[in-house]
C-alpha cells in the first residue's frame, strides 16, 4: 500500500475537493477497491453524479 493510497483510504466517506478536468470538484469517495475508486460528485448539474476513477489518477486538493 502506498502513502497516497493510505491517505485516500482515510478520506473514504468524507467530502473533499478533487481536481477533475483541471478544476476542483467537490466529491466523496464512496468506496475503494484495489486500484478503483468510486467518486460521488456533490454537484449533479452536469447530468451525472458518479465516477469510477483509477486511484493513481486522483488529485486531492488540500489548500
Amino acid at each position: 500500500m502506498s502513502t497516497f493510497r493510505n491517505a485516500i483510504s482515510a478520506a473514504v466517506g468524507k467530502e473533499a475537493y478533487f481536481l477533475l478536468g483541471g478544476k476542483p470538484m467537490k466529491a466523496t469517495i464512496t468506496k475503494i477497491n484495489d486500484d478503483l475508486a468510486v467518486l460521488k460528485l456533490s454537484d449533479t448539474g452536469a447530468g451525472y453524479s458518479e465516477l469510477a476513477i483509477h486511484v493513481d489518477k486522483l488529485v486531492l486538493v488540500t489548500a
Binding site: T3, A7, I8, A10, E15, Y17, K23
Partner: protein, 235 residues
C-alpha cells in the same frame, strides 16, 4: 406574368477618394433571367443586399442580414515643411550681405485598411438572422406560401428561445465553476480535512519506515540515523 427582379446594392458613397475606399459604390443592375441561362452574382463581403420583387401585384422585400465585417480606412497625410533661412550682414568697409532662403515641401500619403470584426454577433444571433432571411427568400422565390412564412417565424422564435436558455445554462455552469476556482471560494473546512488525511498518511508512512529502520539498526549511530530520517520525513 413577368417578374421584375431588381438588386439594389446599398453602400455609402464618398466623393473625392472613391478609388481608395473599401466601401464600394452602389449600382442598380437589373438582370433578366431566362429559362436557358443562369447567372452568378458576386459581391464584396462588406455589402448588404436588399432584394425587391414584385409578383402578381404584390411586393416582396427581403433584406439580407448586415455584414459581419466592416472595412476601416485610415488616411494619414504627413506634411513636413522645412525652411532654411540664412543671412549674414557684415557692416564695415566693403561689407556685404548675403541672404538665402530655401523652402522644401514633403508630402507623404499613408493609407491602411483594416478589417474590423463587428461585435455582438453570437451564434444564436447569426443563426436567427440567417433563418429569418432564408424564410423571406424562400417566400420570394415561391417555394413557400405567405401563411407558411408566419409559421416559420413562430418556429424560429421558439427555437431561438431554447437556444438562449441553453446558452444561459452554460453561462451559469461556467460561472459556478469559475466561482469555485476563485481564491478563497472553496470550503476551507473540506480543504482542512483533506490536508489532515494527507498529513496522517505521511506520518504513518514515516513511522513505519522508522520502525523498520530501528529494528535493523546495529548500534546507536545507526539508530541516530533512523531518528534523523524520521525527523526529515515528518518535516
Amino acid at each position: 406574368m413577368k417578374k421584375c427582379f431588381g438588386v439594389i446594392l446599398i453602400a455609402s458613397i464618398l466623393t473625392g477618394c472613391g478609388s481608395l475606399m473599401s466601401q464600394k459604390e452602389a449600382e442598380l443592375a437589373p438582370t433578366r433571367i431566362t429559362a436557358t441561362t443562369g447567372e452568378m452574382v458576386t459581391l464584396p463581403a462588406q455589402l448588404r443586399t436588399i432584394t425587391n420583387k414584385t409578383s402578381k401585384g404584390s411586393y416582396i422585400s427581403c433584406a439580407e442580414p448586415g455584414p459581419d465585417v466592416a472595412m476601416s480606412d485610415t488616411f494619414k497625410l504627413i506634411t513636413g515643411i522645412t525652411t532654411d533661412t540664412s543671412s549674414s550682414v557684415n557692416n564695415g568697409n566693403g561689407s556685404s550681405a548675403t541672404a538665402g532662403n530655401k523652402i522644401g515641401l514633403n508630402n507623404d500619403l499613408q493609407t491602411s485598411t483594416t478589417a474590423l470584426e463587428l461585435a455582438g454577433r453570437t451564434q444564436t444571433v447569426l443563426l436567427a438572422r440567417e433563418f429569418l432571411y432564408r424564410t423571406c427568400e424562400a417566400a420570394s422565390n415561391g417555394w413557400i406560401e405567405k401563411e407558411d412564412v408566419v409559421k416559420a417565424h413562430d418556429s424560429i422564435l421558439k427555437n431561438i428561445t431554447t437556444l438562449i436558455n441553453t446558452d444561459n445554462k452554460k453561462a451559469e455552469t461556467t460561472a459556478a465553476i469559475a466561482g469555485a476556482v476563485a481564491t478563497g471560494k472553496l470550503d476551507p473546512k473540506l480543504l482542512g480535512n483533506a490536508a489532515t488525511v494527507v498529513s496522517n498518511a505521511i506520518r504513518e508512512a514515516c513511522t513505519k519506515d522508522f520502525e523498520e529502520c530501528i529494528s535493523k539498526a546495529a548500534d546507536e549511530k545507526a539508530k541516530g540515523a533512523c531518528r534523523a530520517n524520521l525527523n526529515k520525513c515528518l518535516d
